[in-house]
Every structure is written in structure tokens, then in C-alpha cells.
Symmetry: C2
Subunit: 196 residues, 2 copies
């Protein structure tokens, strides 16, 4: 449809910042009304990968870490960056082991989202993981993590009350809860959810 | 708790980019393991404000626009930036009128999230709005918008199937649906939700 085409004209671009994770570019544009202006964008070099692991008793795992850009401590589902040339599932499997030591036999993608689409191209992909085996975690140097094993309902309650604020965690926990209520969980996971 | 304190040491900071909407700073840091490194952060000058308006027949309103950083067309709940020195509710009321022409008599905050907490400090605040009155929209020059009025269930289905990918829209629609199922909607909205 012609009314979904790009209404911006890009006349030039200048690189302002580049590191291992992000690239910041200012674009010289004509906005949708035709006026000259600028659009500064942040390119994310990794995909954002999140995992909701479900254990045999219906527990899930939360990861606590200090989030530098917000200067605050944050409890979240296991998450990490996945290179864009690696499949999201491969990254999810690596990230879950790195952060929690858990290997999972069952995997299902539950959610894709654009996290901050007014300024960045960061895409999030979240998975449900089950059939868990505990091994040894091996976090990166940039990560100082705490791991908490809690009933899924407790993790959902934390998101519900605003104690979990990370967007991927909030959306993935809400989606898994709604999948449970709608009877759309994989059968192997559905029987782990004891509904109150 | 001492184990939730900031494990990063910041030794310096350099400004790399600054415009009306974002500021990019590279911090010279010692990471949680004590190794020297860098952390590039993106400060958002506005809050991200989203609104799920519910009409008397249970319809909601979606806004279609081209998202420049993703180079794709995106259907979303009404959204916009709110200055940090204005209350989120005031910004939500202004943004809903600007984008859709709708004034709402009833408002309730339903969600707060940190959108992209590995690189930015962008905070989202989403509201439910009801008791709607149609006026005239007045979008900004940077916005070329389409408005679509759809049953709430259709909007939820778009998010469920991955046709809506904006994180605020996905999370807010999932949360409102779960509030309906849990009987936690404001009474004036609950009776507008005809459940299938």
C-alpha cells in the first residue's frame, strides 16, 4: 500500500559514535511534511534475547543485575545480546547457560518486539524453555549476577506490581501467563502450570 | 542490600552526540570484575507515553506510522514523547488528542517499563483511557499518521500474531487483556469489554 511507504527523505548521514554494541548516526532528512531536519538513530549490533525457563515444579528463574544506564538494580528474565548472524535460538541457548547454568531440552519462541522504535532498531526475541538440566553458570566480566528461583506466579506478580520493569521481562511474563490462560502453551509446559 | 549496589566504577565521561531527543555519552569504567572498559549510554530527553483508549463499544484506536530507525511501517497504540518535567498523565492527554483527536474523561495508569535498559534510560508509561469524545487531531510535522478504529480483541490479536511489534503496544495490550481476565479493570471500562 502506498500509504505505508517511507515518508522521510534521507539526504545524508554522519557517524557520531561507534562501539562494540551500538552505532549512532545523524541523518540529514526531509520530514514527512517536507521540512529539512535531522534524525539521530542508534543501531544495536546485537539482537536482545530473553528466556522464560520453566522448571518441573512450575518455577522460573530471575536474574538480578545492576543496569548501568538506569543506575538501578533490576530483576529480569535471563537476557543477553545475540549476534545478528547467529540464530536467536542458538543465542538463547548460550545465554541461558551463561547466566543460569541451565540447559533446556524444550524451546518455543513466544514473542518478538521492537524495543525503542523512535530512536533505535533494537529487536527483542523471547523464548519459553523447559526440560531443564542444571549445570554451571559462566557470566561475562561485565555481568555480576544474582539468580533467584521463584514460582512463575511470583515472577508474574513482580511484573504486575511494577517490581520488574525491564520491558522484555514484563512482556514475556504477561504473554506466557496469557498463553497459559488461553490453553496455548506447549503441552509439556502446560502441565507444569498449576493454576490457582 | 549491599549485593544490589552499583558494581561499576565510572572514571570519566565524554559527550559524543546531542540533539533535541537524545544524548550519547561514553563512560570510562571499571566493569564489575574490576577491568577497565567503556559503557556507551543513550539518554532519552523524553518519557515514552502510550495510551490504550477504549470506546463505548469496546473498540480501541491504533496509529500507523513509518518508524525511521527500523525502516518499516508500524501499527501501534497512540504514543509520543513526554517532557520529563510534565506529569505523564498530562503528556498522555495531550498526545492522545494530537494523534487521534480524542479527549478522554477517564484515565488509569496500567504499566511502567524500562524499554532498552542495556543501553538507554528510556522509560515508558502507559495508560488506559475511556469516556472518549472525538475532536480534531493535530499531528506534528514529523508525524504522518493513519488512525484505525478496531475492536480491542482485534488489536490484541495483531499483537498476539506479531503484526504489532512495538514493545509498548504489545505490553500494554497484553496487560489490559489480563486485567480484564483478572477482573482488575476500572468498572467503567470492564463493562465495555464484551468477552467472547
Amino acid at each position: 500500500m502506498s500509504d505505508t511507504k517511507n515518508p522521510w527523505t534521507t539526504r545524508g548521514a554522519k557517524l557520531y559514535y561507534d562501539n562494540r554494541w551500538i552505532r549512532v548516526i545523524e541523518h540529514d532528512v526531509l520530514d514527512p511534511s517536507g521540512k529539512p531536519g535531522i534524525y539521530g538513530t542508534v543501531h544495536l549490533k546485537n539482537l536482545a534475547i530473553g528466556i522464560v525457563p520453566i522448571d518441573t515444579d512450575g518455577s522460573t528463574y530471575l536474574v538480578g543485575q545492576f543496569r548501568y544506564p538506569f543506575e538501578k538494580y533490576s530483576w529480569e528474565i535471563p537476557e543477553g545480546g545475540g549476534p545478528r548472524d547467529v540464530t536467536p535460538l542458538d543465542s538463547a541457548q548460550r545465554e541461558l547457560i551463561e547466566e543460569t547454568g541451565l540447559a533446556a531440552g524444550g524451546w518455543a519462541e513466544v514473542l518478538r518486539m521492537d524495543l525503542s522504535n523512535s530512536v533505535s532498531d533494537e529487536e527483542a526475541i523471547c523464548f519459553l524453555a523447559w526440560d531443564l538440566t542444571q549445570g554451571t553458570a559462566r557470566p561475562e566480566d561485565t555481568e555480576q549476577l544474582q539468580i533467584k528461583r521463584v514460582p512463575f506466579a511470583d515472577a508474574l506478580a513482580m511484573a504486575w506490581r511494577g517490581e520488574i520493569t525491564d520491558s522484555m521481562s514484563v512482556a514475556a511474563l504477561l504473554k506466557v501467563e496469557l498463553m497459559a490462560r488461553r490453553g496455548e502453551l506447549p503441552a509439556a509446559v502446560a502441565r507444569l502450570f498449576v493454576r490457582p
